[in-house]
Amino acid sequence: MDELDLVRKIAPDDEPDDFVLERGRADLASFLRGWQQRTGGAEPLRPWRMTAPGRVADQALLDVIEHEGYVVLEDALAPATVESVREALSPHLGAGPFGRNEFEGFHTKRVYSLPAKSRAFDPLIEDESVLAVAETMLGPNFLLTAALAIEIGPGETAQGLHYDEAFYSLPRPRPPVSLSTLWAIDDFTAENGGTLLVPGSHRWGDEMPSPRPEVVPLEMSAGSVALYPGTLWHAGGANVSDERRLGVSIQYVVSWARQQESYLLAIPPKAAREVSPRLRQLLGYSIGPAFMGHVDGRHPEKLVRADR
């Protein structure tokens, strides 16, 4: 008897249950019918992994987001940029506390308000490919609404499924009011907490995910970025690996919605002078049509300049 025989001896030898098989067949048939009704039988566009297209939002890229609910741009960051992001985060992550509740995760560290902490994150926030998609999806004068780092530690459990803009109480289905991006600073794998996405769920109305929805773990190499509308259901994955997984979430919102992070307080006019004009607009030193965001009747940019 060799070691393989021993391994075979610990295999449970139950025969497949015919009743379970029949029930599974009926479930699948119903799923396939539902899929046909939902999509009209159209085949989703492939590939959903693309290379970063540059300044203009590539129509194919927008189509993939529309069909699948997400897209991954591979190699969107140079390795040196990935490393500078990691370095900029390291003092905050080293000192920072773990999450305060199950949603934040008791084995997960978050660093909020990134543009107030270092300029190392600007290339991510101002990425041309991402901003082009955001502009098409959200319209002109869109804003930054959240910029945080998330480090999921070993032993972290999966987050509850949610969509990022659920707190804007607008009935669904509807076009998104926000765009979320998730930058991989470490490789994302199914084991280390790669985000679980529910493909197509951005089109859902009032549907809630079933107890076991069809999820796709977001697997991508460091330097890649995933884009998905704020209407897509997803959850941080469980980290069953023995390593931490670092990602940066940057989210944008239409010009008329309240931002999650109060950037005008985090980066007051004096500090705002040190950042690029584009980033200032995104932070909220800008006017949404027709005069949302004015300060005493004036453009906030004038306040920044006056503060010299």
Partner: protein
């Protein structure tokens, strides 16, 4: 590739989703048995549905050069099992305990003694298998339990056949120490557990 191969069926299902149901009829029993072996009947039934739904969603990525969808489905099922570590631990340990308690064959000849010795080892075998790095354990179980060939495992796990070979060798080497302990006492799991090695 003859008509009616899995690859044909998947191609048809791109336009006509219900054709994917036929793939279930061909492979579901085998995939269910595998899932139940690894995570038990409750999680196994859930994952059976998930396997075919995920397969359907990803059917356009199926490589039509492979006539059979069997390894591909095993690959999807294996990925899904990864999120059920606790169920797997319970399942494998319980089976090993039961198998270890089964009645000994009569007689005191060499064969009967060897069989009894082997049964006594089973809980330790279970511990050792569960302590293997995930990639090695998956490879070992697809080979030993499911009789997949190196090539089929390579397709299932999307790795080169050489990696299948090296994972299997490493797993078997670890387990072999159970069979040839220096004394008659069993090695503890700590002694035989691998040092957390992983494929690069």
């Amino acid at each position: 590739m003859g008509p009616g191969s899995d690859a044909d069926l998947i191609a048809v299902s791109l336009q006509n989703p219900s054709a994917f149901g036929e793939l279930y009829d061909r492979h579901a029993a085998m995939i269910l048995r595998y899932l139940v072996r690894r995570v038990g009947p409750t999680a196994g039934e859930q994952l059976l549905g998930d396997t075919f739904r995920v397969g359907f969603e990803r059917r356009s990525s199926f490589d039509p050069a492979h006539e059979s969808a069997r390894p591909w489905l095993y690959g999807i099922a294996t990925n899904l099992v990864r999120r059920h570590r606790r169920a797997e631990d319970r399942r494998v340990r319980a089976t090993a305990r039961l198998a270890g308690r089964r009645e000994s064959p009569a007689g005191e000849d060499e064969q009967a003694i060897a069989a009894t010795d082997a049964r006594a080892l089973l809980p330790a075998v279970a511990d050792a298998v569960l302590a293997l790095p995930e990639a090695d354990r998956e490879t070992l179980l697809l080979f030993a339990w499911e009789d997949l060939s190196y090539e089929e495992i390579a397709v299932a796990l999307e790795i080169p056949a050489g990696t299948v070979r090296s994972r299997l060798n490493r797993a078997r080497r670890t387990l072999r120490q159970l069979l040839a302990p220096p004394t008659r006492s069993q090695p503890s799991v700590a002694e035989i557990a691998p040092g957390g090695t992983r494929d690069g």
